[in-house]
Symmetry: C2
């Protein structure tokens, strides 16, 4: 990942904006019946028939959301799509199309942008979504990515952030904190590389958490699983900014409180061991780390038998009356108020 390559470089001026869009998107096929017209006209044309259309958008900025010192561009393309699909799945919808715009400085050769689009193409293929539009332009500095994702769902399948009721169970998919710990490992390697550019990082022992950071997967499978299990969540959100922040969103939007149990928070063994190595508190990492792109949702208690024992899902707490507030119940049984320590990009620039 940090190795020094001398790849082929084609300047972007040579292609121009239209040439670049054509070049980058010519290999994208339309897979969705709802995609009537993709890239190549003023706008894409979609047909969702009787379904509701779901739209979400996110922006990623070099130096704020990613560091090209250790993020391979292909992974970045993949992750940019995942971040947005995750929002669509958090509505319990099926993602169907994306548009992607990038602004890039001239220091990027064409091959770099192609690598980025390879990641986008792989994400589109694996998640069965169509790239239907976008814009490429120059920036005065760095790379900025903006993705808009569209999806469809039947009206009664849609799950909003509001809808959670007191006594509903709070459920999380997968495990938490991995993406944040992967970032710590990558940041450390970057510092080592700065001091000794000949060092070869050995990321293998950290493979799982590094992959959680560099190549996260949006939980399309969880939406399918819930459908199969015939579980209709009462409220749902994706975990992009950390469990604390997302819990507070659900509580605020649903006008409920919450008790979350520290000993229930799902952690991968590698997150626990790397937290020990970095002398970080694993609960704090899970609560505030962010970028896990798992789904957090609430279900009626009567639905519990349907999800009981499922290895993909963990009940981490239950909702309460709004007046009771939102708390983390620690292992020693003390009640700690949950505060939004979610990631705030404005602190960093």
């Amino acid at each position: 990942m940090l190795e020094n390559k001398e790849p082929k470089k084609t300047s972007l001026e040579a292609l121009g904006e239209f040439g670049l869009i054509d070049h980058l998107t010519q290999s994208f096929q339309l897979r969705q019946p709802s995609s009537l017209q993709g890239v190549g006209d003023d706008a894409a044309v979609l047909d969702f028939g009787g379904k509701k259309t779901v739209v979400s958008t996110d922006m990623l900025v070099e130096g704020v959301h990613f560091d090209l010192a250790y993020v391979p561009l292909k992974h970045l393309g993949y992750k940019s799509v995942m971040v947005n699909l995750s929002d669509i799945y958090a509505m319990n919808a099926v993602a169907t199309q994306i548009t992607i715009s990038i602004a890039i400085s001239n220091r990027f050769p064409l091959e770099a942008i192609e690598e980025f689009y390879e990641g986008v193409a792989l994400a589109c293929k694996l998640y069965n979504v169509d790239l239907v539009g976008g814009d490429t332009t120059s920036s005065t500095r760095g790379m900025i990515i903006s993705v808009t994702a569209l999806g469809a769902a039947d009206e009664d399948a849609l799950v909003y952030r509001h809808g959670a009721k007191p006594n509903d169970l709070l459920v999380v998919s997968g495990d938490l904190g991995g993406a944040y710990m992967g970032l710590q490992v990558l940041e450390r390697e970057k510092e080592v590389f700065k001091v000794n550019p000949n060092s070869q990082p050995d990321l293998e022992p950290y493979a799982y958490i590094v992959e959680r950071q560099l190549k996260p997967e949006a939980r399309k499978d969880i939406v399918a699983l819930l459908k199969n299990l015939e579980v209709q969540p009462t409220a749902m959100i994706d975990i992009s900014d950390g469990l604390s922040s997302e819990i507070l969103h659900l509580c605020k939007n649903s006008k409920v409180g919450c008790n979350v149990y520290e000993d229930k928070i799902p952690l991968d063994p590698m997150v626990i061991s790397s937290c020990e190595e970095f002398q970080l508190d694993s609960t704090l990492v899970a609560m505030s780390g962010g970028e896990d792109y798992e789904l957090l949702f609430t279900i009626d208690q009567r639905e519990f038998p349907k999800i009981k024992g499922n290895p993909n899902l963990t009940v981490v707490g239950h909702m309460t009356e709004a007046s009771e507030g939102a708390f983390l119940i620690s292992r020693n049984n003390s009640k700690i108020p949950i505060t939004a320590q979610g990631w705030n990009s404005f602190d960093q620039a």
Copy 2:
């Protein structure tokens, strides 16, 4: 515009990302029946019933697409929406929703972003579109804006870039070259201001062209006019990069050629006089200037009586067989091949 003000400044850190989105979008109302859920969940939810959904996206980068030395932020917000709505109208569709993402460095106080959103709100109100989503994040430098616009149309109303036939008439709305000449005036005033910061620019004599640059209007009215006149264009595109570039897009996508008559190109008297002042060729400015956001479309010759004499529409040429090529027929009757001298943002950074 260039006056020195000392306005109130609130830092963005104080609000954080979620606070900022709430703050900026709380005054936006949903006006479209198709907007079921706007800002405030993982994704917006739209319902177009039996209509086709149209989606377009564009990115604007400070220092590349705009210069805050002379672009007021409110105008920039307005223009960012117009640029995208223009693409929706170019499909002969009705624009219904937008999402807007901005990345901004900490040098911008909250009040600056509010000003930008005032322009967005005004555009939404005047064009009857709903803001239904977005992202705000920090940038390491400058301001980057990404807008995605959605619209709806009946299938048989949609107009693509393909569809023009030989002998179809080529029609343009409004007049051309104004936005480019407005930019020349503003750039000149900026240079004067650099030399003498106490100078007060008098832009009044250039009001029309400066407004064409700073506050363009997307031609929603032309879509309505064509519907009223019962004219169904065979192909259509918006003029964002200059007439030459857009003509070549229509020719390429429709597999036709074209003859455009120099003496038919609609020019405002102020464009002509400012071209004289700046010693620029007005035809070249109209052909290559860009940012006019007029609509360029083709119609069957039999439709001509319906548009004849309409002050909003000008027939500038006709389509030919692809083998004949695309030409500008000059005032002295020489045939000049049309080349894409449209604006290429990669030349500038």
